[in-house]
Symmetry: C2
């Protein structure tokens, strides 16, 4: 039992194995359901507006199948650098380009989350700063070759070789960078 946590079944509509793992680490059982949503957003949206929009968009699709006894969690994470949104890289060339751009710089990671019942929705976000040391092409190529970070926004994982060896420091929630601001999710679920 988790202190204070509501005893409703939680549905995680996300294909990210990392989000499922974070719920496991919080000791919160979830059922994973998979839905297709296109991840486009209106071009006038900025920063947290983008992830709030996308978390809500995913919720609007997935909530149709929801039962009264269930809570739905949807989320979206983006990497932002120099006012550009970095998505999952299309392939090796784009991953090299992204990581080269981020060397020696700070970038931001935003995750938006929507919690839904059949009655209401709550949306919120978290923002973390990530500071990379300077690294060279040899390290980038080693990483891409061995870790194939093509399913990751910004082309790296904070919890893998690149995160361990290249991050100087972060300012904010670590787990937000992994894809879920766990502390906020826990508190929002507790008070929903």
């Amino acid at each position: 039992m988790i202190p204070g946590l509501q005893h409703r079944k939680i549905i995680l509509a996300s294909q990210s194995p990392r989000r499922k793992q974070l719920f496991d680490m919080m000791n919160i059982p979830v059922e994973v359901r998979s839905f297709q949503t296109d991840e486009t957003f209106p071009s006038h949206l900025k920063n947290e507006q983008i992830v709030l929009h996308l978390a809500l968009k995913k919720a609007l699709v997935a909530v149709k199948d929801l039962k009264e006894s269930e809570l739905l969690v949807t989320a979206d994470t983006i990497v932002l650098y120099d006012e550009k949104v970095l998505n999952k890289p299309a392939g090796k060339e784009e991953a090299i380009h992204m990581l080269t751009m981020l060397s020696g710089k700070m970038h931001e990671v935003f995750t938006g989350v929507c919690i839904s019942s059949t009655e209401k929705k709550e949306v919120f976000f978290d923002r973390s700063e990530v500071y990379f040391r300077e690294y060279g092409l040899e390290e980038i190529l080693f990483y891409i070759e061995h870790y194939k970070p093509f399913d990751k926004a910004g082309s790296y994982g904070i919890q893998d070789w690149f995160g361990l060896t290249c991050i100087e420091k972060i300012n904010g929630c670590f787990y937000n960078v992994m894809g879920l601001p766990t502390r906020k999710v826990y508190q929002y679920l507790n008070h929903f």
Copy 2:
């Protein structure tokens, strides 16, 4: 192969399973050796002086068995709050006391590391700030009961239930809080 990393066998003289795990995640093979060192330090030492002293003290014991082809890594982590050093708790009562004290506050985590060959030593440290939300006795008791954090300085693990649900944000290196400032260790090993 790790870019630039020296091809010397690395000896990790630490009983912390988390430090071993972090080397695994960096893809750096290590051999774990176990030594007994008393972890006392002169009372005039403050903050980073304490962990530098203890990392070096551990190295001075473990280096006696070192071969020329090997590098030795020793480390020590402390939690600091209100100028008090929080060690591993002696039992349930002390863990409750520590976690109650840290609720809603910022504390610091220092890790000192010493890398040694038979020829020379390099010592360095990292410092991270951890900001806890306010939490209550119910959550503390749930955590201690289920996770038994008695082998952890400060009575919590940043990578377990408490870290995921109670940390507002960190400022610094996440892995330093786990017990090893991985980015610095990687770079010092590369340039040793």
